[in-house]
Symmetry: C2
Subunit: 432 residues, 2 copies
């Protein structure tokens, strides 16, 4: 076998991440060649509009709007997919694998929905599929599960894996902003998209959690398996009251093993202020993994952005290229040999924070605790806040002991119907 | 090539870490066999005293006091070295490599002092040497440098990598203890050894920093290259004053690149309280890595202990075993292709915290600032503390602007000779 003179790269996508990848491959060409053993050459870049003005200078000859220019080029060894979205990207990846090209992707949606099919196909075609950039930007996360934590029985994941929502929550907490102005601020700074639904509704976090939970629990967790809830219900007062109880509010992606069953969910949660997770602010991500041997480990860093994401993509590319040069077959993907047993959201037990507005009179709390008691929910503490003399109402904040989700939902429905209760302001789960 | 029926393991050492490793290999035998593709069998365990009572039950027939029983056994494919210390371990590892056995070790001293020789030997003999457990227990650290951060130019490492000292410093900070009682407490809890010198003097942290800096900067950093200083000079008052300025005090292992030169040092440092590193308490470790692409990433967890360290050892063993089963040659170690240019400690610039006792009279500060000024050191702020009416002295705490180490040392020597100065209490570098 002759020594390879260079390794051909096909880059699909030249947006925020793609530009970062192209820039790195070009600027660090020599250092990368030294690490790989031969140079990497970008042969072709797939773009939607070749005429578009870009922040990066690439030869116009490299650009194409035709995916076949990459997929059918025998000189392309590695396809980097950073166009995002589901259908197109999925089709391209699939075809590239069939044409025996290695894949490096940052696509959380495709990996979370189609990994099993793609990995099986890749294995048949003896090519590698790497996706470190799909979760947590440049923070090593896929690789720790695949390698460093292999000896562990993973017990739980608690993760802040969406920078947009964490930025908004941080502004709400630190500046007392309500949701809408905080979102607007994030949009102005480029931390939230014009259509921010995927981020603020928890969908993006659910994709990422599906990927991590699949690796952690060795069973295919699909995004549809995950209960998710966004942050738009939160109010600046919730942050103030939570702080009085000693908690921060974070959008958490949670995966836990209970005996042989698994729970997977994404929702805002009260997190004790003395935990490191509670102190992860702004656009940063932090992923806490609990293993039976390692205990709690936390991985922290920037979970998005051109350069951090390109860091993960290019590291994957270098490793694939090293294997090509060394003539090493790709290692198989992690075996998913466990049965999938999911606990439905209704059966999950947590403590709850409940905020409601009621008539400011002595018997009210008794009526509410009676209902909670009927559903086997006991109260850990209560504070009465902000009495409104004019309307004769008071805001009451209740922290419960652990209670089942379905019980709390039913109790709140009954509570809302009490004549003395004006409004259920909010309820938030607590993760201790 | 016939399929392997089992992979033979020789375990050297059955102390805290060795017991954890043996326990895991035995208790998780089935799960590990599933991941590897065939079972791992402990063939022999090297111990000093076979009669010793142990927390783990292993068949007496496995125990031996003769290293040759492991080194010359052709059925042993992987040698796990967890005896610690330098000379013996080094000799065993070397001989095992020559006999074509793969090595998994937790030995920071051997790896930090002999890695280049051992890696070269291993490469000639086509075997793997893995050492994830040598730094940070079960926290993935070696693997991120070797794989996930490959695209980065590493700019800096700031690490809390010694649990013993971090435990002591946490007690001093939270309970106002002085060094001696805090050390005693750590010893009683088993967090510090009877002879704690290696930990509290910074030697252990220097070994670990040498390993990380070698990987980060692609040049061989030897422990002798590293300036180190322990924590025994610290006083409970330093923690109190530091807090007034908004800082915590941590034993930091620091490696930084400045243009083409590198600085490597271990010493107590003032760390701004709002950094995550400042909030890493107790026996926990945290390693902050700054890369040109990824920005700052932090790895956090338990840096020592039987189970967390065994987590890293067994993960390495599983990966080596997977490669054996798949017939994959080990990947070469990271290439060290960069020239080593170290900045001597005397030329390093930091801000300084200086605590001194002087006569409580108006002209004193003028005399001290005059000397500092002579050495181009300017004062950022001063607080006068704890005036002692009886002796007519006051404690003065000075924060300087960035100054060169040698200049500060000279200025402090001159200051100590001032008639009005009773004592230089302490000086601590600041890492912003």
């Amino acid at each position: 076998m002759g020594k390879k003179e260079s390794i051909g790269i096909g880059l699909m996508g030249l947006g925020v991440v793609g530009s970062g990848v192209a820039k790195t491959l070009l600027e660090k060409e020599d250092a990368i060649a030294q690490q790989v053993g031969c140079p990497l050459k970008i042969k072709r870049i797939l773009v939607r509009n070749p005429a578009r003005k870009r922040t990066i200078e690439v030869s116009a000859q490299l650009l194409t709007t035709d995916p076949q220019q990459i997929l059918s080029d025998p000189e392309i060894d590695i396809v980097i997919e950073v166009i995002g979205g589901e259908t197109e990207a999925y089709e391209y990846i699939k075809e590239a694998i069939l044409r025996k090209k290695h894949i490096v992707t940052a696509n959380k949606e495709v990996i979370s929905k189609h990994s099993l099919e793609l990995f099986t196909l890749a294995s048949k075609n003896k090519v590698d599929v790497r996706y470190e950039a799909s979760v947590g930007g440049g923070i090593p996360l896929i690789s720790p599960f695949k390698r460093d934590l292999l000896a562990n029985n993973i017990l739980a994941i608690h993760a802040i894996i969406n920078g947009t929502t964490n930025y908004i929550l941080t502004r709400m907490a630190k500046e007392g902003l309500d949701f809408d102005p905080a979102l607007k601020q994030a949009q102005e700074l480029g931390y939230a998209e014009a259509n921010p639904a995927n981020d603020i509704d928890g969908v993006d976090a659910a994709y990422k959690l599906a990927i991590l939970a699949t690796l952690a629990f060795r069973t295919e967790i699909h995004p549809d398996d995950i209960y998710y809830e966004g942050i738009s219900r939160l109010n600046s007062r919730d942050f103030r009251y939570a702080r009085e109880f000693g908690y921060a509010i974070k959008l958490l992606a949670i995966a836990k093993k209970e005996k042989r069953s698994i729970q997977v969910r994404v929702h805002p949660a009260l997190v004790p202020e003395d935990l490191l997770l509670a102190n992860v602010d702004g656009v940063f991500n932090a992923i806490q993994v609990e293993g039976d041997m390692v205990g709690r480990v936390i991985f922290y860093g920037r979970g998005a952005g051109s350069s951090p994401t390109a860091s993960a993509v290019v590291a994957d590319v270098i490793q694939v290229a090293q294997n090509i040069v060394l003539g090493l077959r790709p290692k198989p993907q992690l075996k998913l040999y466990k049965a999938k047993r999911l606990i439905p959201m209704s059966r999950i037990k947590t403590r709850f924070y409940v905020r409601l507005t009621a008539i400011d009179s002595p018997g009210v709390l008794a009526q509410i605790s009676k209902i909670l008691g009927d559903h086997f929910i006991s109260i850990a503490s209560v504070i009465q806040k902000e009495t409104d003399k004019k309307s004769g109402t008071a805001e009451i904040v209740i922290m419960t002991h652990p209670a089942q989700e379905s019980a709390l939902q039913k109790a709140l429905q009954r509570t809302a119907k009490l004549a003395v209760v004006k409004e259920i302001g909010n309820f938030i789960r607590v993760e201790d």
